[in-house]
């Protein structure tokens, strides 16, 4: 088996914690995991992307070749658009539809595309997409900071690779003890946001 996963978003959205959770989950199953991150400008609202490669065989490159990611998990619409070239036509995408405008868009120096335009582009790769407002759900549960956990719940539901109970155990180990219950709640909420057949 082999799963190539792109997790992309904006610095501060909890991208790294999400990729660590997925990596821990896969390692717990005895699989090989290699990841790669853009870091550096992450604290300054920069574009952040993690490549995660999971396999029961040897993995070489830490970056996922264009057109071959099984899943694109976009924490932000424009970031999903930026990395759509990684996604395989047979793949799935999950996009959190709440935009984080760029500084230049805010200042009227650049144009943020409409959500419809972004989805239309993503659908050119595959129609297997889930467009969900995970930020709104996290805010409803008390804190927008849990958007990443809601998205992990969605990912767990969308991909057969993940078992819900096992994923919860992984999360319990990496989130702060005092925030454990609320994070598990966010994960469950994300999980229930998707109806699969």
């Amino acid at each position: 088996m082999k799963i190539d996963l792109i997790i992309c978003g904006v610095g501060g959205q909890g991208n790294l914690l999400a990729s660590v959770a997925v990596a821990n989950y896969a390692m717990g199953k005895g699989l090989n995991v290699i990841g790669s991150e853009t870091i550096g400008a992450a604290q300054r609202g920069g574009s952040v992307v993690s490549h995660l490669r999971i396999s029961d065989k040897d993995i070489y490159s830490a970056t996922i070749p264009a057109g071959s990611a099984n899943i694109l998990l976009g924490f932000e619409p424009v970031e999903a658009l930026r990395h759509m070239e990684r996604l395989a036509p047979q793949g799935n995408y999950i996009v959190n539809i709440e935009p984080v405008p760029t500084v230049n868009c805010n200042m009227g120096l650049d144009k943020y595309p409409s959500l419809e335009e972004i989805i239309k582009q993503l659908n050119r790769v595959t129609s297997n997409g889930y467009q969900i407002n995970a930020s709104a759900k996290a805010r409803e549960l008390g804190n927008v900071i849990m958007t990443n956990i809601v998205l992990l719940g969605i990912l767990c539901r969308v991909s057969d690779f993940f078992d819900k109970d096992e994923f919860v155990k992984v999360l319990e180990e990496i989130v702060p003890v005092k925030a454990r219950d609320i994070n598990i709640k966010a994960f469950e909420a994300g999980y229930s946001m998707v109806k699969t057949e």
Binding site: V10, Q43, S47, Y60, V103, L109, V125
Partner: protein, 609 residues
């Protein structure tokens, strides 16, 4: 114990498992976490040095005491340390000395991209390990320490960003302590590099003699390369061989997996090359493609081998066939094989047809540099000043919307460049803006030169008491050193006074005061220093949980806004947003931290306290 860690941490463990005693470096992406990682060891001295040359010189001092030492830096640091490297190659080392020079092909987090193998091997004649994975990088560091002591030479590890920043499962064996006490022994004919005659070399000049010894060393380096398990041959189909240097090998393996094909492959991880292995490989193929980061270093060496051995093999790579710039990818390997008609692999990637807005780096909301950049821009505009820039968070002032600094080159260059601007006799004021870590790195000497040669210019020092851009590493003006340990505070203001430079210290959150100080400095003769001093907002919030500035809540009065966008072009806070339909600028209450600066900039009474 197996752990899922960053490549940089894996390299730190390689050093700890080698019994390293002294680790030095200057922060720089992609290498920074290698130094931090070494803090996990006991009885290891780890420091952030003021700059990379000092870091390497420190490590050499430790090596002279027969202890193992490692200096860590990015490629720009290697450039800066070159003068020392070009002596250390002649003298050799005593205790194992490993220099880690991390390259950033494609310049993802750098001002330029370069291949330090040219500087360190082609020019410096030092042996290099070029890792294909984090796990291999860790093993190479251990081997480098061993060989450094066996050959009495400095060994280099040259990881690229994709090695440094990747995460994988690494086997950690734990720190090793060497049973060794520091001991200094004189050997002046070796460690006193000077233009004197050398009696033991028959009266030859010492530099010439040491150079000949370095040349003789090459055979030893070559022998180790020949025997090294980091170089190997793989059988495959066809007459086109693929040469993978460092991470180039990884991309070849990835391409083979995707294509489900096996090519003849030569994996290379050392410089000098394992010549017989290369010749054996060349004898099996008609042509080779060399995949290396970043320049045609190995490609040219293989061409030379073909010439010397009279082998009719076509050698392709970065010089002609592959792109001459930018990082390698597995896609690029597949493209090359497609261009050679060896495979047919239609690209499946679908790219966006609409423009994707970029996320430019800017100052954080609440950043102390924002007030300074705004003040400086206003004063510079009024006086038609030329502003040279330097490297650090504040350098984002050279991007839209501020577009203040006219230059960014390398660490510390802002001050001498502004001096040069002034010395032409131009009738515009010359100004330099530089950060505190950069100032201590290599800016200080530029200020000394400006004061000494009486440059009529203003140096603006953005002092946030940390190296914020690379993740808050301390520097001589921080009052603490690595590991949050208290350290003497070196006051840049006192340095300015000692140089006879008129020095002013301002709080950049007080816009008018800051403007007045800069304006006064511009008008006075001689070299002036304006220190804009306030702690990094992010770091300060982390430490004290409250802002350094007096919180001032700003209200937006829509009817007063005429859409002049002065708050954007003269301040550019990410918390401000422009609504095109209304031609007005609003405040995003979700992320505004009440620094109040936008109210100081607005002249229409639209942003008011």
């Amino acid at each position: 114990m197996k752990r899922y860690i960053m490549g940089n941490e894996a390299m730190a463990w390689g050093a700890l498992e080698s019994g390293v005693r002294v680790v030095t470096g200057y922060p720089g992406t992609p290498a920074t976490e290698i130094v931090d990682g070494c803090l996990q060891g006991d009885n290891v001295y780890v420091e952030w040095s003021a700059n990379e040359k000092i870091a390497l010189e420190m490590a050499m001092g430790a090596s002279l005491c027969n202890m193992r030492a490692m200096a860590v830096m990015k490629h720009n640091g290697i450039n800066y340390a070159t003068d020392f490297i070009m002596h250390l190659n002649y003298t050799g080392v005593r205790g194992g000395l490993v220099l880690v020079g991390a390259d950033d092909p494609s310049g993802n987090s750098s001002q330029n991209e370069e291949d330090t193998r040219i500087l360190l091997h082609t020019y410096g004649h030092l042996p290099i390990f070029d890792p294909s994975s984090p796990a291999e990088a860790k093993e190479m560091i251990k081997e480098a320490f061993t060989l450094s002591e066996e050959t009495g030479s400095c060994y280099i590890l040259r990881p690229v960003m994709r090695i440094c920043h990747s995460r994988s499962t690494i086997d950690i064996q734990g720190q090793k302590q060497l049973d060794r006490q520091p001991k200094f022994e004189d050997d002046r004919s070796r460690f006193v590099m000077s233009a004197v005659t050398e009696a033991k070399a028959g009266g030859k000049m010492r530099p010439l003699w040491r150079h000949s010894l370095l040349n003789q060393k090459q055979a030893e380096f070559s022998k180790y390369a020949e025997d090294s398990s980091f170089n190997h041959l793989e059988e495959g189909e066809g007459k086109v061989g693929l040469v993978g240097c460092g991470i180039g090998y990884t991309y070849i393996k990835e391409a083979e997996r995707i294509l489900d094909k096996k090519f003849p492959v030569l994996k290379l991880g050392t410089l000098p090359l394992p010549k017989s292995k290369v010749i054996n490989f060349l004898k099996k193929v008609d042509s080779v493609i060399v995949f290396e980061e970043l320049e045609p270093v190995v490609e040219r060496m293989i061409k030379q081998i073909c010439y010397e051995e009279d082998l009719k093999v076509k050698v392709m790579g970065r010089e002609s066939f592959l792109p001459g710039e930018g990082e390698l990818t597995s896609e690029l390997v597949i493209q090359a094989l497609t261009d050679m008609n060896l495979v047919s692999h239609p690209a499946e990637a679908v790219r966006s047809e609409i423009p994707v807005p970029i996320r430019t780096r800017t100052q954080c909301i609440g950043c102390q540099h924002r007030g300074l950049l705004s003040a400086l821009k206003q004063v510079a505009r009024k006086n038609k000043a030329i502003v040279t820039g330097d490297i650090g968070c504040y350098d984002a002032g050279s991007f839209p919307p501020l577009e203040l600094q006219s230059t960014i080159f390398c660490m510390g260059s802002s001050i001498p460049m502004a001096s040069g601007v002034h010395k032409t006799g131009i009738d515009q004021p010359a100004m330099a803006i530089i950060g505190d870590s950069t100032f201590f790195h290599n800016g200080l000497i530029g200020l000394v030169n400006a004061a000494f040669n009486q440059s009529n210019m203003t140096v603006v020092l953005c002092d946030n008491s940390t190296t914020a851009m690379t993740g808050f590493q301390p520097h001589p003006g921080s009052g603490e050193k690595i590991g949050n340990v208290e350290a003497p505070y070196i006051d840049a203001g006192k340095i300015g006074e000692a140089l006879g430079v008129k020095t002013r210290v301002v709080n950049p959150y007080l816009l008018e005061e800051t403007k007045d100080a800069i304006a006064a400095a511009v008008k006075e003769p001689g070299t002036s220093l304006v220190i804009s001093r306030a702690p990094c907002h992010l770091l300060n919030m982390r430490k004290t949980k409250q802002p350094y500035f007096e919180q001032r809540s700003v209200k937006m009065i829509p009817e007063n806004c005429n859409g002049c966008k002065l708050c954007i072009t003269d301040l550019g806070c990410p918390s401000l947003y422009y609504v095109e339909d209304e031609d007005k600028v609003y405040i995003d209450e979700n992320n505004c931290v009440d620094c109040g600066l936008c109210a100081d900039v607005c002249r229409r009474g639209a942003l008011v306290l």
